[in-house]
Symmetry: C2
Subunit: 507 residues, 2 copies
């Protein structure tokens, strides 16, 4: 037996084991390249990918090293005795192979796949194989349903002792767009329950949790979350503590960098998190635009139908709203800048971005209409009254105070540069993807003050030399990365008024 | 800038970079999880997956650590200054995405993918995505052609100053089956050029190079290879030194453990290696059987058609032979045991396995008929005469001597156990996959003497208690792994004569 040792390398959600090439017990060559090994410590066991090491200071000959996630999963003490064996290929990979071959999967097959993914039994190439299989031989709506159910079952569930638990979710892809920081206080001020748990960014420059974290603590224990929601009717917290649909976290960690979108997985990902979080009424926002995740109205409609089908089967009241995704919403991209925008809207500041205010009111209005006592069509006005009266601001402050102060007083990054127009004309294109990338390179979301602050939006007139946006960074290396990227492409197109893409959303 | 440092971890064909969490130059959080970074040292640059490290002894704050393959690819000296940047997503991934979406790829797209794979710009999940895409939206025969061409172009090419350069290749999946060690000396003794370069096992218990290595040196410089072939008309060497179709090595390193077979990739893999090796006349062996890679005659026929189509377009004379793949060929599985079988056949030893002899003669006969001076149908007799006269043995000994002595005098593993039948009856099934796995667990091919020695084959009568096969190991841990696996399943079925699957191969 070998002694286990933590090797302080973060292999990001993949279990990696390190064995010395001249290991005293096992011949590393005996384990087939890229295959996994099974590690047993008492009653616990994990699968891990094997890396062979030639340096005694990383692992000695009588030791087995485990990377951070592997060490955490095994849960053994340093020096504990461990056994190593060839890992059996996870049985559910047969179902993945069947899906690759074009078969439909049933609930049992999906349960098996999700259970193995949750237990970290899949390598990254295996997860990638599953993702690609679900894109190519598209998941039909029943398969999406099975996958959603399996993902809900993979983790914990919150439940709330009320008949109406509201939530909203945007399918993503639009920088800025931090409507949750407005919708939650408006809806909660109306008296409806809206316990919002959200994620951190994986590849985008900010998730709702990242942005809220610039204003308040978001890492709440489930008990604290319940207490705050009972008292204030809402919260904006990070969902990670509650272990909701953990299989989803593993899947998207591989899916996002691959850049291969699976509609079926998108639906399962969103609905499993929301159902696990105890939502009963859910508003889904699908932005459509030339650089949005969904680029054509027909795709948005198909996505809507599948959301509705799965939502109905899972007993959730679900509505889909299709919105303008032609450009970022609000001015700021990045946690601090987005939080600033949201607070300006709540405060009725005249410099607050009108598009963010308008979109938040529209979403909040639709959620308020989930309330059986609200007459259809009245939601928007109620939401606006709550916002304009200052009650939403008051509610937001109460929620922030209840969640606790942020770790630091954050401000926009001290290093900055402006990107200017080289032409005179009308802003006829703002590339969501490029602006998100610029904000990411500038350091968002890890550097909270990093990001992009937009000065011009679609349809605005600019002259050559006018600043289009400002990029903020906190660190010199990030500053250089972002500046180099802006030089490749600013993400802005300057043309004529006729070049502005039409809004092709619903009224 | 950071100082580069080799971190002695073998990340097996994937470039991994290690940065300290508190790196003095870059914020590790600024690089997005699972995304790659670009590392530049002077004019050389590589892409690598980033792992964050919390241990100064692995990498210091002013260092960038590189895993073995990454360090080798960058080719910088330890302590050299390196720059780090966000890696651009390889442009060819767009083509992978298009393939996932169901499009056909053209030559340019395949060239781009193969060039990026060869340059190690793809992560393992990205390679897996490409592999799955080519299985699901099957590669059509022109796509296979484009992929083959691109893979040939990815590396070096050997050329031989002769009009007829013969070779053979089995698509794999049948343990034992070491016909090359017989075909090469027979064909070379006939006077035809047969410069065989072959691979080492990835997941199987032995490749031809592994087995030949038990008899002779196989790691030959290209100049030595040429000299030996000029003198002896043949060789059996490892192809790795020649850098033939290196993209293929990267692909199969991910494909094999995934266990997802792509017929298109199989064809491109084999033909690219053979064309790069300079073959003009090629015999492809497709074994068919219930536990072979190809399980149905119709699949074998389809595969044959595609081999023929691509071979014709690439100007190679190609013939396909479909053979009996119901069970292992020969008795030994594993380098030493397979080498022993081949030498026994060459020596005319009465204990030599008849099936190996027969199959080798059949293949050699077909290759000899590539000779324009040989009358159709005469090849088998010529091959048999060469073998029975001892000329093949003489040729093999000359080739072995020219390649040089093996590193050690190998013998079957000293640790062994017999697996016995629990029933009386007829051997009605021998599972290729399970026997390959047992031999692998026993330590083959890295432990040359490890493997399985079969005492009974299909149709043989056994009594309860009779030994079915012997498992050899060289190391105690391997011995235990193999024994545990045999207890799960011996891989043998004992039934009635009527249960033996029919031979469904051509005459």
């Amino acid at each position: 037996m070998l002694k286990v040792r933590r090797v302080a390398i973060d292999t990001y959600r993949e279990n990696v084991a390190y064995l010395h090439r001249d290991c005293s017990v096992y011949r590393t060559e005996g384990f087939r390249a890229l295959s996994k090994i099974e590690i047993t410590a008492g009653k616990r066991h994990i699968l891990a990918v094997l890396n062979v090491v030639d340096d005694d200071s990383i692992v000695a000959r009588d030791e087995l090293g485990l990377s951070d996630p592997a060490f955490a999963h095994l849960g053994a003490k340093p020096g504990a005795r461990v056994d190593v064996a060839h890992a059996e290929r996870p049985a559910s990979l047969d179902a993945v192979r069947r899906k690759v071959a074009g078969e439909r999967l049933d609930q049992d097959a999906m349960d098996g796949i999700v259970a193995d993914i949750t237990a970290n039994h899949y390598s990254k190439p295996e997860i990638a194989a599953f993702i690609v299989a679900t894109v190519q031989n598209e998941l039909d709506r029943d398969e999406i349903l099975y996958l959603t159910r399996a993902m809900v079952a993979s983790g914990e569930r919150l439940d709330w002792p009320e008949p109406l638990v509201a939530d909203k979710h945007c399918i993503g892809g639009i920088p800025g767009n931090r409507t949750s920081l407005l919708v939650v206080p408006i809806v909660a001020a109306h008296g409806m329950l809206i316990p919002k748990t959200s994620s951190r960014a994986i590849t985008s420059p900010a998730g709702t949790a990242d942005t809220m974290e610039a204003l308040a603590n978001v890492e709440l224990k489930v008990a604290d979350l319940r207490r705050i929601v009972r008292r204030h009717r809402g919260c904006i917290a990070w969902g990670g503590t509650a272990r909701l649909a953990p299989a989803d976290d593993v899947l998207i960690a591989v899916e996002r960098p691959l850049g291969i979108d699976s509609h079926g997985q998108l639906i399962a990902s969103i609905l499993s998190k929301k159902i696990a979080a105890g939502s009963t009424h859910l508003l889904i926002d699908i932005p459509v635009g030339p650089t949005a995740k969904v680029r054509h109205m027909r795709d948005a409609q198909r996505l809507r139908k599948n959301f509705e089908y799965v939502g109905d089967r899972l007993g959730i009241h679900l509505e889909v709203i299709i919105t303008d995704g032609r450009q970022p919403i609000g001015n700021g991209i990045g946690p601090v800048l987005e939080a600033r925008d949201a607070m300006r809207v709540l405060q009725g500041d005249p410099t607050a971005p009108a598009d963010l205010r308008q979109k938040a009111l529209r979403l909040a209005g639709r959620i308020i209409e989930f309330d059986p006592d609200v007459r259809g069509g009245r939601g928007f006005t109620i939401a606006r009254d709550i916002l304009d009266s200052g009650r939403a601001l008051e509610k937001m402050r109460a929620i922030m105070a209840a969640q606790g102060a942020p770790k630091h007083a954050y401000s926009p990054g001290r290093l900055w540069f402006d990107v200017r127009s080289t032409r005179t004309g009308i802003v006829s294109g703002v590339d969501n993807l490029q602006l998100a990338r610029i904000a990411s390179y500038a350091g968002a979301p890890a550097a909270k003050g990093a990001g992009v602050d937009l000065f011009r939006k679609l349809g605005d007139r600019v002259r050559a030399g006018d600043p289009l946006y400002r990029v903020h960074a906190e660190f010199a290396a990030d500053f250089r990365f972002a500046r180099a990227l802006c030089r490749q492409s600013t993400g802005y197109a300057i043309g004529r008024a006729a070049d502005v893409p039409p809004v092709f959303v619903e009224a």
